[in-house]
Subunit: 215 residues, 2 copies
Amino acid sequence: MASSRAPAKRASSKKERRLESETLILAAAEKVFSEAGFGGATMQLIADVAGLPKANLHYYFPTKEALYRQVVQNIFQIWLQAADIFDKADGPAEGIGAYIDAKMEISRRHPAGSKVWATEVMHGAPVIQDYLETTLLDWTKGRADVIRRWIDQGLMDPVDPDHLLYMLWATTQHYADFGHQIETLNGGAALSEDQWVAAKTSVKQIILRGIGATR
Amino acid sequence: MASSRAPAKRASSKKERRLESETLILAAAEKVFSEAGFGGATMQLIADVAGLPKANLHYYFPTKEALYRQVVQNIFQIWLQAADIFDKADGPAEGIGAYIDAKMEISRRHPAGSKVWATEVMHGAPVIQDYLETTLLDWTKGRADVIRRWIDQGLMDPVDPDHLLYMLWATTQHYADFGHQIETLNGGAALSEDQWVAAKTSVKQIILRGIGATR
DNA sequence: TCGGTTCCTGACCGTATGGTCAAAAACAAA
DNA sequence: TTTGTTTTTGACCATACGGTCAGGAACCGA
């Protein structure tokens, strides 16, 4: 059927298959780490979830810590990408509004990752301290500058940019990190589509009014 | 010197000494659990922090889980007490403002407890699910009623009470749970007295304005 | 078909963990 | 002092964990 010479159809090359395995393992690891924490997670359980023998995990990731580190890094990348919206906006209502939407969406679609990040930071960021001190610090400074500019332009009330950013992180990530609590308070059911819309609307309404964002 | 018959001075009765030991162990446990999570914490380390032999811990708390459960329960009690302020207020500006102050103060003075709670909930609340379904659910409903009354009285804008409560929890607890991240972004130093005041002010300002709280 | 490389895996190992226990110490009542 | 109870502790145990390794399977270019 398929041609024989060139890498036809989807014959999955070596590199592709390696990436596939790594992705499979990382997904299982993210799930298990988010549910049990680093200390509570076991390589055996991750292997079971991934449907692979434990020894195979150690072929792709030499140690538990290396695997964990990769999981945390992946999440951090997703965080950062969502932040591009911030800069491209003309004003706070658009920029911060879109940022809230983006982060709420991540909390909804990627809750496990958020939990792993939260746990890591709560335990003193033993594995990703360098990221906090470099990438995150730079990012925060840049965004604080944008907020200050908006304030100077009279597009929003004068508020402390740092504390505003903390509030944005806290509020949006709460829907992932404390999703179980919210679910319980919601009668044991996950938030429906409508409820997610209401959540986004509430968060945006309160914060945007709170900072007097006009445009 | 001291009289001999009656339980003079502070001769620390049996029950008192038992309570002392338990409190000592609980304090050590809270610290270790908050830094390492349930799985990462070891009875040996808790014993070292408490300055006691490991076997002694098992005399007061039969299992690791029993000790952990007690730690979580203690924290929950502190949460609940802070909430009394809510009801005694005449309006949202006073009630929610005081609630924010109280919760921010807990985050500052009791960060370890907040972290243990957060980790517990993130892992699906395996130990305190019953508390979520009973005490917390009742409390939340009661507070939502208060908020709805304030809205009906025109003291604040119509906002979804549940999402407002989530925002209050998320924002205030963020200063405990993500304290390490905040500290790092603050140049490696803990927030100063002034910075804590600024934090409280920012949070109250944004949220109270955000909900249009007039009084 | 062959040779080399990558990938897979069961069996195994040293260590650290939660928990037990029996005996000693400390304490309290008589 | 004597007797009974509570508290303390080192030594110990079974288990489970992260990680290793050697040998086999699968794959691939020539």
